[in-house]
């Protein structure tokens, strides 16, 4: 089967994020970069599905040429093809990003065949727009469900290949069944992504990165500036420095009415 994973290069989560002087971008001078966490799990999921069912995994990203680092990483953990959708900025709005990705995917499919499954992260760790995958699926006319934490495949005699996908909700799961070709937005927790092997590292160095130039009109959402929220200042009351603090803790619980 053919699986396409759309990934995004983002500053490593957990770092303190600074903003450039003009406020229009993240200051990346002292930041490490990584693949957005949900998408790391998407790549792992795709690689596992191909290991069991045969086929190949194509990773695709839209952004500056720096994002080749994340494409190569995906190859080092099992993807076989890598495509950079070359854009002049990392800060395209979601409408424009999705339109360019849909066009690039259509171009790939025209020459290499249809993707049975496309995986996106539920949302990117940085911009958090929650929509690029949904828009791409709609543009390509494929069913799409977000928030997926479990994926199983089976072949059905009448409908062909079917994906059973689970979404975690409060206190349980929703189960969806989509016929391929389809699109899923996945979340961290789907699996534990593997580390690259030596062999994987070697193939990632050798893999040829295909390039498609990104082409789409800007959407109507325009960034004015990025800024940090005002820091919350809390006076922390220290209740103690050992187990003798327990009565004071329980007093607090009693006061809050949770006892």
């Amino acid at each position: 089967m053919r699986i396409c994973c759309c990934i995004k290069r983002v500053p490593a989560p957990g770092a303190r994020i600074n903003v450039t002087a003009d406020g229009l971008d993240v200051d990346s001078a002292h930041l490490g970069f990584t693949t957005s966490p949900h998408e790391e799990c998407a790549v792992e999921c795709a690689v596992q599905l191909v290991e069991r069912n045969g086929g190949e995994v194509t990773v695709l990203t839209l952004g500056l040429v720096d994002a080749v680092e994340q494409l190569r990483y995906a190859v080092s953990v099992g993807a076989s093809k890598a495509v950079l959708v070359n854009a002049d900025s990392n800060a395209w709005d979601p409408q424009r990003t999705a339109a360019a990705l849909a066009a690039a995917i259509a171009e790939l499919e025209a020459t290499q065949g249809r993707f049975d499954l496309m995986l996106f992260g539920n949302e990117s760790a940085d911009a958090g727009g929650f929509q690029v995958g949904v828009r791409v699926a709609h543009a390509l006319g494929r069913p799409m469900v977000q928030g997926i934490k479990d994926i199983e495949l089976h072949d059905d005699e009448t409908t062909g290949r079917v994906v059973t996908a689970r979404r975690e909700i409060d206190g349980g799961f929703e189960v969806y069944e989509l016929c391929c070709p389809c699109v899923l937005g996945v979340m961290e927790g789907l699996n534990l992504p593997r580390y690259p092997t030596m062999k994987g590292r070697l193939s990632s160095k050798k893999v040829e990165i295909s390039e498609i130039s990104a082409n789409a009109d800007p959407g109507v959402q325009k960034r004015v500036r990025l800024h940090r929220p005002s820091e919350m200042v809390t006076e922390t009351v220290i209740l103690g420095t050992g187990p003798e603090a327990a009565p004071a803790v329980v007093d607090v619980l009693e006061e809050l009415g949770v006892l």
Partner: protein
């Protein structure tokens, strides 16, 4: 007119749906516009009544029979059809996973902008919006200049509260066709794993981080959580170490909690974790490091080894109860 898409679970409007109505009421006021609500996939008198109490002047009920459960495409297509029919200036939902998904689908149908996770919205020409990035550690100011703007308001930005005045609620039934894609993406089955209190709704969450030391170390937190009718949560480091399932993870890539009190033990409070915990009404940190981010941001702290403090708290609760 502002149209609010009201989220429900099939039985009642959920808290996030009431938050969207509360947020929407203030926004409609600033717009000088009427507040309408959309109830999709449910024709239920008590839900309709609830929507009225939260300030909607008119509710559009769209509950086609074939759509007997949630369908992202089905719900999104109905929102798009409502926009085409009613021509609202803006459409708002709460930024839950379902809210964002339905609005993204509607936006794709309409080829309109969706500004997700908004914290502040100033209508005008253009609209000026502050939205949450990085799960809350960065804000983005954007402008949108469009015929219709689709918005989701960040979860827990407002506390849900009914309106001051009682409206005469008009109920309109919106007749809409359902296509194959709506059926194809509809929920096929539901699996209930646990009844009762869950992590997002627990009044008390006992969180543990790397400082807990091992999977077995969580037993003390389990005991305390059970005693308080709460749930155990954990940091991303803990799920990555395999000590707890991912469903227990509090954070940007896990669950957003909003308990009355969050007892965070052995958690340094990295941004990834903090954004999942910051809606907690109160925080008590237990940590050996007085400089830990979690301690600095907490209302109360105990600077000590959690494996000594937590059993002492449990024992104190037991002795007061007996």
């Amino acid at each position: 007119m502002l149209l609010v898409v009201v989220e429900h679970d099939g039985n009642a409007v959920v808290e996030a749906g009431l938050e969207a109505l509360t947020f929407g009421r203030a926004l409609a006021n600033r717009m000088g516009a009427d507040l309408h609500a959309a109830l999709i996939g449910a024709d239920d008198d008590s839900m309709i009544e609830q929507v009225g109490r939260f300030g909607a002047a008119r509710v559009h009920v769209a509950a086609p029979e074939e759509l007997h459960d949630y369908s992202p495409y089905g719900y999104g297509a109905i929102v798009a059809a409502l926009v085409a029919e009613l021509d609202p200036e803006a459409v708002l939902a709460c930024a839950t996973s379902r809210g964002n998904e339905v609005m993204a689908t509607a936006a794709a149908h309409l080829d309109a902008a969706l500004v997700a996770n908004c914290a502040e919205i100033s209508p005008g020409d253009p609209w000026r919006i502050t939205r949450v990035q990085w799960g809350g550690s960065l804000l983005e100011d954007v402008t949108v200049d469009a015929d219709v703007t689709l918005l989701t308001c960040s979860l827990h930005t407002v506390i849900a509260a009914p309106g001051d005045t009682e409206n005469d609620l008009e109920v309109e039934y919106f007749d809409v066709g359902i296509d194959d894609m709506a059926i194809a993406t509809m929920v096929k089955d539901r699996v209930v794993l646990e009844a009762g209190v869950t992590l997002p709704t627990a009044p008390v969450v006992c969180g543990g981080g790397r400082g807990v030391g091992s999977a077995a170390g969580f037993a003390q937190l389990e005991e305390l959580a059970e005693l308080l009718g709460g749930r155990v949560g954990c940091s991303r480091a803990v799920t990555n170490l395999g000590w707890r399932p991912h469903s227990d993870q509090v954070g940007q890539t896990g669950t957003r909690i909003a308990p009355e009190i969050y007892i965070a033990s052995g958690i340094s409070g990295a941004i990834q974790h903090w954004v999942g915990a910051m809606a907690s009404k109160h925080i008590l940190a237990v940590n050996i490091d007085p400089e830990a981010n979690m301690v600095i941001k907490a209302d109360w702290a105990v600077i000590a080894d959690l494996h000594e403090v937590i059993p002492a708290i449990t024992a104190e609760i037991r002795s007061r109860r007996s």
